[in-house]
């Protein structure tokens, strides 16, 4: 037994040494976000001579982080609510009423799990709808591309709920909408949380769609902001690092608070659209 215990401690030690590979790059960003431009010129692991909190001030004003933060928040919150709301509603009707039409619709939705988006024609479609370069357009794109994943994740959960519950509610005079919101959603809270947290991470971190669909830099999200900032201040790594930190903290907080749900979601088959 003693030998086994020693082996476990050794394994933990080895894993922590390995984890440095993950931790060091992140520490590098934190350290350099507090350095002077000259110090950050060499991106080293040395401690900054003095903590320059002004870097964050510069980023907030020059990098317009504050307005990008708002853009990201609006797009992500609306995207998550709409995708999760519409997707779970659809999945509920499709899972419960398995008519021939509904089975076909379900298959049709599932095709989007594999298909990549045709970006050039998507721009055309959005231009035609006067939704190009607008938040609403980007949000609708997220609803469309994450619909397959949302439906897939919630479909199974709805199927495993007993149907008798719906019957009891309907007999009591419950409308379909009330049945869904007041009876079904609370019972499937873990899956709904998984979906919401996963969508939050995908939408917040997304780069490709804002790059193609938002041309006005006033409407850029934080991640787009980092990219633009990088082009403008590529030699000032201290500022780039500060910008990276500001952009990453929200998603890390959401991850840490929803950690146990994310894993379930990923396992259930997080097939990004």
């Amino acid at each position: 037994m003693k030998k086994q215990k020693r082996r476990r401690i050794l394994l933990a030690a080895v894993m922590w040494v390995l984890s440095l590979l993950v931790i060091l790059p992140m520490v590098l960003v934190i350290l350099n976000s507090l350095k002077t431009p000259a110090e950050a010129d060499i991106m080293s692991m040395e401690l900054p001579s003095s903590l320059r909190w002004e870097n964050f001030k510069v980023v907030l004003i020059e990098g317009r982080v504050f307005s990008s933060f708002l853009n990201s928040a609006i797009i992500t919150v609306c995207g998550v609510l709409l995708s999760a709301g519409l997707g779970t509603m659809a999945a509920f009707a499709l899972a419960r009423n398995r008519s021939r039409l509904n089975k076909i619709v379900h298959k049709y939705f599932m095709a989007g799990l594999v298909l990549p988006v045709q970006l050039i024609s998507l721009i055309e479609v959005l231009k035609g709808l006067h939704l190009y370069n607008k938040y609403a357009g980007l949000i609708l794109v997220y609803v469309a591309i994450f619909l397959p994943m949302t439906v897939m994740l919630s479909y199974g959960a709805f199927q495993s709920l007993p149907k008798e519950m719906d019957e009891a509610a309907v007999v009591d005079g419950c409308t379909p909408m009330r049945l869904f919101i007041q009876v079904i959603l609370p019972l499937t809270k873990p899956v709904i949380t998984t979906i919401a947290v996963t969508l939050f991470m995908f939408i917040w971190n997304d780069f490709q769609f804002p790059l193609y669909l938002i041309t006005d830099s006033n409407k850029w999200t934080l991640v787009m902001g980092v990219y633009g900032f990088m082009g403008k201040f590529s030699s000032q790594w201290n500022l780039v690092c500060a910008h990276i930190l500001v952009s990453s903290v929200p998603v890390i907080v959401v991850y840490l608070s929803g950690q146990k749900y994310i894993v379930d979601g990923m396992v259930a088959g997080a097939v990004k659209g």
Binding site: L115, Q208, S247, V263
Partner: protein, 290 residues
């Protein structure tokens, strides 16, 4: 109870419309556009048959993009799955700080891919990057490499960054799979005197096939679609050495060649469907054999 009344079709109708207009319609239009000579200079889209696809076949950017996409997908999928499996096996044994370690190894998957790319762009910088500072201690010659700026090392560097980013994600899925295996199998095997390797080969591996199928499929699809990481690290350069299919689409659009770009995007789509069918079919058969 009338199911049509209790579960009305209008529940799925709005997302159906959004999905059809924003996702499926562009796919159909993309196919049509790929047969037109649409450019930024002429708003007219006239039919030109397979002309765009012929252009792609003769274009060295597209050809390297195609090859690089395959290389990237195959190598990152193998390495990430293997490394993720190893990490999951290690972190599935009882040890202290196990949960903290799992969180740390998963963290890269939480960050935006673009931001990971930018962080590594700094780490891989020729003279001042962290990697070269480390190498410099051992061998000054190695420490002078411009990892992302040389055609010979650029693709390998990009693949390395993707492995850094994606292994933790694979680990988490594989861990969940490992935890679903009943410990009774292992107990029975121990009584029969099986060695660790025998247990792995005859219990763990066969029972993990469905999970590995998911992990490999996800990695293959993600790898074929790779875009953010390339844009952040190299933008496809130097030359075309890290060009992939989705960056070629972006570049054709940037050059105003929308018809050719649509054709390139269509090639990516067809390629993904084909590979997905092959990988999924092959892996399911392996599952059945086991």
């Amino acid at each position: 109870m009338n199911p049509k009344k209790t579960y009305p079709n209008y529940f799925w109708f709005i997302p159906f419309i959004i999905y059809t207009v924003i996702f499926i319609l562009p796919s159909v239009l993309g196919l049509l556009y790929s047969f037109t000579n649409w450019t930024i200079y002429s708003s007219q889209k006239t039919f030109c048959g397979l002309e765009n696809y012929k252009v792609l076949l003769g274009d060295s950017m597209f050809k390297s993009g195609f090859g690089n996409t395959i290389a990237f997908t195959v190598l990152t999928t193998i390495c990430k799955t293997a490394l993720g499996f190893a990490l999951a096996l290690a972190l599935n044994t009882k040890m202290r700080t196990r949960n903290a370690l799992r969180t740390v190894f998963y963290l890269p998957a939480v960050l935006s891919t673009l931001i990971v790319g930018i962080i590594f762009k700094s780490i891989l910088m020729p003279n001042t990057g962290l990697l070269n500072q480390l190498f410099h201690i051992f061998s000054p010659a190695l420490g002078a490499n411009d990892w992302l700026g040389q055609p010979s090392t650029a693709m390998a560097s990009v693949i390395f960054v993707e492995i850094w980013r994606g292994s933790g994600f694979c680990m988490i899925i594989i861990l969940a799979g490992l935890q679903s295996i009943s410990s009774e199998y292992y107990e029975a095997a121990t009584i029969d005197g099986a060695t660790g390797w025998q247990k792995f080969r005859t219990i763990t591996l066969p029972l993990m096939m469905p999970t590995l199928n998911t992990v490999i499929s996800l990695n293959v699809i993600g790898g074929l679609k790779v875009f953010d990481l390339i844009i952040a690290l190299t933008k496809g350069g130097p030359g075309f050495s890290t060009e992939v299919l989705s960056t070629t689409v972006y570049k054709y659009l940037g050059n105003g060649a929308m018809g050719v770009g649509s054709a390139a995007n269509m090639c990516l789509t067809i390629f993904i469907i084909l590979i997905f069918a092959i990988v999924n079919g092959g892996l399911s058969r392996m599952e059945a054999d086991q």
